[in-house]
Symmetry: C3
Subunit: 318 residues, 3 copies
């Protein structure tokens, strides 16, 4: 693996899952693999789980880590070509990515979408240019439209339950701010891939107008009735996202989509997932988060081993 930005970058999904789960039992089996190798983690946006879990994953593999908070520690980046840089941007991504590519062996990049121009965000221009100019392996730490390290950890969490073809439901949730579609896009993309392998049965529940981009949901069952969707569910993945159709907008929603304990009655005692950070009692009820059905901390914990499996695969191909 040279680039990790999507499930399509994974040659053998089941093998990758097994490697992640193996690291959970034995984190130090490859603690010499990363010797003399440095990963640079480049953040254009805040990060807690991704920041710490990827650092620890690299450490467990014997790598060195350099963290770069690009906006605060470095220079404001220009991404457009052909513009006279006489404004506020100080450095072009062409140089910045190329230079970091010379100092590091692997780069990780976090860059959120602006949620203003659908085409710009969905072209993944920033991530793709970074990859092009860096010329070394790059791991997405969440890009405009995907969060693959999160999705891998999500699938690890579902897989380690050992349920046979569990019913997995991605369920939209309310929020006060317009959020990217990266996490649900990515989750859907990975679940559809897992469904093709016979690993899960995947449904998306969202209010009308909140349908995700088709490119990511191919194979998923999409319904607007949340209660209907979660019947017999084994896993409910709760997540807010802003509208893809009316790009980046928050649409009026009639029903109360925040999941509560009583909503779990008709499920198969469903485990509840969320990528975190979660706004309590807005996106998801405290009673669920603090109750026996929540597996959000286990899920977040799997971020570490998922990142470690990805970095292992990249290190083996350097």
């Amino acid at each position: 693996m040279k680039i990790f930005s999507s499930v399509n970058d994974v040659k053998d999904l089941k093998k990758l899952l097994k490697e992640a789960i193996d690291f959970k039992s034995n984190p130090y089996t490859h603690s010499e693999l990363g010797k003399y190798k440095t990963i640079g983690l480049v953040f254009l946006n805040p990060s807690l789980r991704t920041r710490i879990s990827t650092q620890r994953a690299a450490i467990n593999l014997g790598m060195d880590v350099i963290v770069m908070n690009m906006d605060k520690d470095g220079w404001a980046l220009e991404t457009r070509d052909g513009v006279v840089m006489n404004g506020t941007t100080v450095e072009h991504i062409r140089e910045a990515a190329a230079v970091m590519g010379t100092y590091c062996d692997i780069l990780g990049l976090r860059s959120f979408p602006k949620l203003k121009d659908k085409e710009e965000d969905y072209s993944e221009e920033f991530f793709n240019k970074f990859v092009e100019y860096a010329k070394i392996p790059v791991v997405s730490l969440e890009s405009a439209t995907r969060h693959p390290l999160q999705s891998l950890a999500d699938l690890v969490t579902i897989t380690e339950s050992n349920l046979v073809k569990p019913k997995v439901v991605l369920s939209w949730a309310p929020h006060v701010k317009p959020l990217p579609q990266a996490v649900p896009n990515s989750f859907s993309e990975w679940m559809c891939a897992a469904q093709e392998l016979g690993m899960v049965d995947f449904t998306i529940a969202c209010p009308p107008g909140y349908e995700l981009c088709n490119d990511f949901t191919n194979g998923a069952t999409i319904v607007h009735d949340r209660d209907e969707a979660i019947k017999n569910a084994d896993f409910i993945y709760v997540k807010n996202w802003s509208s893809f159709e009316k790009y980046g907008e928050i649409l009026p929603v009639e029903k109360d989509w925040m999941l509560k304990t009583k909503d779990l009655e008709n499920t198969n005692n469903a485990k509840v997932m969320h990528c975190l950070p979660v706004r309590r009692d807005l996106e998801l009820s405290s009673e669920i988060l603090d109750g026996p059905n929540s597996i959000v901390i286990q899920q977040a914990g799997n971020r570490l081993f998922s990142a470690q499996a990805v970095l292992k695969n990249i290190l083996e191909n350097i």
Copy 2:
């Protein structure tokens, strides 16, 4: 040791002091103890000495270090339970602490008091909740009411002088901003413990209205006449704090409490201490700071070995 937030967390104070002093001579005696262990240092406030000395202490023990500037690199934290998170806080401490606890083996936490609500600050709600949810060993890097790594270094500094039962005076100093009581509370708590062991004779000098909370000063002699207090003193610990009684306020003070060289005349050629950062010629005169009686740099240097002794004890109990 699993939690280090107070002198009460220390089973054998003399042993801990000896370990710190031993590290000063031989920093690498335990350089393999922390192999495969990572400490996460979580800062909600600025830090120079604590930040660097704790990193170096962990490094000397063979640990890996991940630094998290929570407010800048991560998400604004909610601490209250039962609130709908539809405001500015993005993540609840319940999840944030639990997640960091899964990625790290030890956590360090710095969180200042708000100095608005005495009960809230003195309940140590934030630190205690962090400990509760993190579920792994936690070291205070200064909390609302205590700064134990500082106090341990202070006691190391006094101990390594080899004076028999020296007279130690904590002396209030002026400032332009209302500062927490954490450093003086903690210093007093540790000195009272050392006094019980017959190691020091401890006095606090402060203007009326600046008495510290009783919980921390039990056993100390408290006087309002500074000149009287420092008579025959071997160590004068200069520090500003805001009023505990009129919580967080700066009260009018009649005399000039800034220590000058001539004030040392009736002392036992007292060594002058300060936790730093110090505002020169406001809290403490430059003539003292630059003169032979100041041991503030030696004192700051001992932060490293104190942190190393604490981390050693925690590592031995993981």
Copy 3:
């Protein structure tokens, strides 16, 4: 070497260049030299190349690295002596530098000039005081008037071309903001030293009023006609700087000083250099930056091995 701030700190320039070039082929020949040694990198200003390349250089030598973003993670520093610190500065450089000197084995310091007071900037007061109080080896990561790690990498880049006494031209370029003279001062200082050793032939081209301080240009040919200057040039180093004479000002310039491909016609197929970050199509044309004559990424890549050679020399003298 104990201090690295200028070419004058280098005993044997050719040996240092060779060591840097050797590290480029074999980065891990001294990977145990820095064991048990920690470098603290202190930034008062943004940094990308210096930040990452110096970290990687230290890592390659087996050192541990602690990064301190002084203004954001620590306290605002006072540098003046004899002032009552009742304003916005929280800590004096006397204490801050001394304390960091006790926790680290080597320090790196980045501090830009304010460009308001020529005498203050050119006294290098901040860097010099930091060195004085830190009492351990200090590497300049760019100071008010010099950027020696950049200049060493520049000379490495020119040297590894294996041209015999190449013609090197430092060519002023336009900008929208007043920039320090540190990079051109330092480049000129190093080129003049290399010229004395018979390694290069050095010319500076700048508009009238943009002459650099004599202290750094002793031995250089200084011309105001850019086209004349770059005739038969082997290397053109493009860089903006603000006026030294009218200190920190941007002066009106008649001709278009931005280098374009057609300007290279009368050169010796000159390689084009820039320290980066570069504002495209303002300082330097995209056609050159993206064309075959640009060696800016190679040049930036050499920052790593230059820093590694410097740190090696310091480590060997600790």
